[in-house]
């Protein structure tokens, strides 16, 4: 097991992503950060905090549960649902930034795009991830990446966040040292 990002590095990566989101969207007024449960929600909250610190502006924040849209539902027992909460303004004509912890096959993001399709018509949909570990199975890319980490398919990337796991840390498990 090896640690690839520590707490300070996670904080720096998120601060940079916050700057990039603001730069790309010319501020935060039309931006909605939508976290994908579980850890994407926490990362979205932290990005909102960073944006508050940088621009002194409250960015719209929500959560998007994609379980009902997954393409692998029939391969295992039903997964528990988590809440979907959208800002009252809705997502129409906004810049929606999907936020997740680890970007892997791209299937979660595909499901999220389907879910968004049911909820409205954003102006653009962007993707922010803390870790991009490669091995895409679909033609999907991220707009904002905390860190690219080359991995083997047999390894697993574990993102720990203090709100959920008690500490901030990104680890790779199953790597032969």
């Amino acid at each position: 097991m090896s640690v690839v990002l520590n707490a300070a590095e996670i904080a720096r990566a998120l601060r940079r992503i916050a700057h990039e989101i603001l730069e790309k969207n010319h501020g935060s007024s039309e931006v909605i950060l939508l976290g994908i449960p579980t850890r994407g929600v926490v990362i979205a909250q932290r990005l909102a905090q960073e944006i508050l610190g940088i621009e002194n502006a409250e960015v719209a924040l929500g959560t998007l549960d994609i379980t009902m849209y997954r393409d692998d539902l029939r391969m295992r027992a039903p997964r528990p649902l988590t809440p979907t909460q959208l800002p009252k303004t809705g997502i129409d004509a906004k810049h929606v930034v999907l936020v997740d912890d680890v970007f892997f096959s791209g299937r979660t993001v595909r499901a999220a795009l389907d879910a968004l399709n049911e909820l409205g018509r954003p102006k653009t949909v962007q993707l922010a991830v803390l870790i991009d570990r490669g091995h895409r199975e679909l033609p999907i890319r991220a707009d904002f990446v905390g860190k690219n980490i080359p991995t083997a398919k047999t390894e697993s990337v574990k993102v720990n966040l203090s709100e959920i796991d008690g500490s901030d840390e990104v680890k790779i498990e199953g790597r032969s040292m």
Binding site: M68, Y69, R74, M75, P80, P83, E118
Partner: protein, 321 residues
């Protein structure tokens, strides 16, 4: 969980999982998305040997919102009226590839028979069998009580709920007593002695013969329909006397706790077990119960056939060998 036949098959955690799932689905349906691709390609059969409006429509709406294909089968006008047995009907549905069969039957135990004999691979959901159980009605009632009286979405500990009326013939009452007690609520059954089943003292619920003695201390009052179609004998002297002694009228509504709610599984006999004032009062959540029924049934369908089912696993094993 493979089938939903009786509340007894559920642990407290199973029941809370269904209710929590229903909360999420209800919130999602309130926002803009009304339809999910989750059960696309699954076939759900409504197998109704007894008349029903709201339960059948509710299951149909739930299945369709999850994109399942729905086949409605009612005994009237089908080969059942030509004398086909439950087994042969089930084998026909099996041949059509039903992933879930929602069955209502006049005989207690018919859904259990269907599930136990495994004439079909699909999940069996009891939508009311004789005077035995109606588990999804109890779940939607618990969902409604929780939404109004337990905003923190915990269990129902500390609540007192009256179930009033024809307990003898009511599958709704039996399922509700089992579920509400499982979730920690105290239940009081209120009925004339002739409308209480033999052995009711073993249900674990308080029994009262006078609604006015208990109504002031209850958090929810659940009125049961007087089931005229099941009453071959005379269970009470007259409808007027029943309405006066057990009906929910304006005076009794006024005697209830500030926060208490009025429930009825429908269809109502207005003027018999509940007056128009009772049915239409601000405390009444009767119409909301119908809407909640769709969310709860979506949750049950999702949890039973939304993930890998025994049919899927059989196919996967077949592919591997």
């Amino acid at each position: 969980m493979r089938d939903l036949l009786s509340i007894n098959d559920l642990t407290k955690d199973d029941a809370l999982e269904i209710l929590d799932t229903a909360v999420h689905l209800s919130d999602l349906s309130d926002s803009s998305s009304r339809k999910f691709p989750t059960l696309r390609g699954r076939t759900v059969v409504n197998l109704f040997f007894e008349d029903s409006t709201r339960t059948r429509i509710s299951f149909e709406a739930a299945a369709k919102r999850l994109s399942a294909d729905v086949i409605n089968f009612s005994a009237k006008g089908s080969s059942v009226s030509k004398g086909e047995s439950l087994k042969d009907t089930a084998l026909t549905l099996q041949a059509m590839g039903a992933d879930a069969v929602i069955i209502r039957h006049g005989s207690s135990g018919a859904p259990a028979q269907l599930a136990r004999k495994r004439w079909i691979d699909g999940a069996v959901i009891n939508a009311g069998d004789g005077t035995h159980e109606h588990p999804t009605q109890a779940l939607l009632d618990a969902f409604t009580i929780r939404r109004h009286l337990r905003k923190d979405l915990g269990d129902l500990a500390g609540l007192k709920i009256a179930v009033v009326g024809d307990v003898l013939h009511s599958r709704v009452a039996r399922s509700n007593v089992l579920l509400l007690q499982k979730l920690g609520a105290a239940v009081v059954l209120v009925a004339p002695p002739t409308l209480l089943p033999v052995g009711v003292e073993h249900w674990g619920a308080q029994v009262s013969f006078a609604i006015d003695e208990v109504i002031a201390e209850c958090d929810a009052v659940m009125m049961l329909r007087v089931q005229k179609e099941r009453m071959e004998d005379l269970f009470f002297p007259s409808e007027r006397e029943y309405a006066r002694n057990f009906g929910l009228n304006a005076a009794r509504i006024a005697a209830m706790k500030e926060s208490a709610i009025v429930m009825h599984p429908g269809p109502m006999n207005r003027g018999l077990e509940i007056t128009a004032e009772g049915a239409d009062s601000k405390r009444s959540v009767i119409v909301e119960q119908v809407a909640n029924g769709v969310s709860v049934r979506m949750a049950v369908l999702y949890l039973l056939i939304g993930g890998a089912t025994s049919r899927d696993l059989a196919v996967q094993i077949g592919e591997q060998s």
